[in-house]
Symmetry: C2
Subunit: 165 residues, 2 copies
DNA sequence: AAGGCTAGATTGGCATTGCCAACTCAGTCT
DNA sequence: AGACTGAGTTGGCAATGCCAATCTAGCCTT
């Protein structure tokens, strides 16, 4: 039985969208589970084996991610195999890719390791991409030009071409 | 005395930059402390009062953030006041703004609350900004065009809708 | 139809982290 | 000197995480 932790509940009810996002994602594993979906992993066993996460924690994290619409649990059957469950990213899950990319960009820049690394690239051109602030015309703006200011919710509703579908 | 947790250590030594970033940041409070710096908070007491975080946890989190170069502890003295400590964001700390903005964008879109919120805007024009993937020329590309590929192997897809069978 | 196999959890025991309140300590100010 | 106060520390306890062992329900074989 899943009982939502106090910390998650507090965060999820926050008026700040950052805090609510963290209510779903701020633990040692959730982001890494999403990362694994980028490499095509979908099943309980794949997550367990690639991450080395304790199975009870994995059960709980998958439940939280499904509950908040990041993943969707769908039956799946390979030929000659029994039915299994796959945890497929939803559109909301796909929208986390840019958060992961931003984290990757930051870690590569500020916690370097001189190792092989994975970078976002354009599927069309194959050229590398980066994560940046862009203005309403889609042109990137320097990091220093970005400031946070409060506004009403309706102002951010317009979200033109962010989602693919 | 601060002893680094096993989970942080494991993550910080990962070859994946996402995992290393999470080694510094993946807990219920670190991102929120960084968020508070966006609103000008700098001192122990300001973080404690605005976040309601337990003081022992705050001590530990500030230590971790200083240790990894996100914040810098500097003496600070207001007129007619005793010397106090301020935790100032470093350049690495400022670079986290885009991660926070990405989280805010995701939470506003997928965990809506119809509340006042804070959005990134251009300091120059005052127009709203958003976080996007951009190509080498600084033009935004659609989320669907972004895939993750390793610098060594280019066969890892970000697009999760294709599963081999 | 019975039995075995195995993916996907669940459970128990212990370690780590988080939370709260009370307490300490060291500069400042009077 | 003595009081004040910002910035932590400490102690007790609850919650979460980790690991190994165990359970369960579909599916397959016989």
């Amino acid at each position: 039985m899943t009982v939502r932790s106090r910390a998650r509940t507090r965060a999820l009810e926050d008026t700040c969208a950052i805090a609510r996002s963290l209510g779903v994602l701020a633990d040692p594993w959730s982001f890494l589970i999403i990362r694994e979906t980028l490499f095509g992993r979908r099943t309980f066993a794949e997550f367990r084996d690639s991450l080395g996460i304790a199975t009870d924690v994995l059960t709980d994290r998958l439940g939280v991610l499904v509950e908040h619409g990041v993943l969707q649990k769908v039956p799946y059957r390979a030929p000659q195999q029994r039915t299994r469950w796959a945890y497929e990213p939803t559109p909301a899950g796909h929208d986390l890719n840019i958060v992961l990319a931003a984290l990757q960009q930051w870690g590569a820049a500020h916690l370097p390791r001189n190792e092989l690394t994975v970078v976002p690239t354009s599927a069309q051109s194959g050229h590398p991409l980066r994560v940046a602030f862009v203005d309403t015309e889609g042109r990137s703006v320097s990091q220093g030009d970005a400031q946070f200011s409060s506004t009403a919710r309706s102002d951010i509703e317009a979200d033109p071409d962010r989602r693919s579908s």
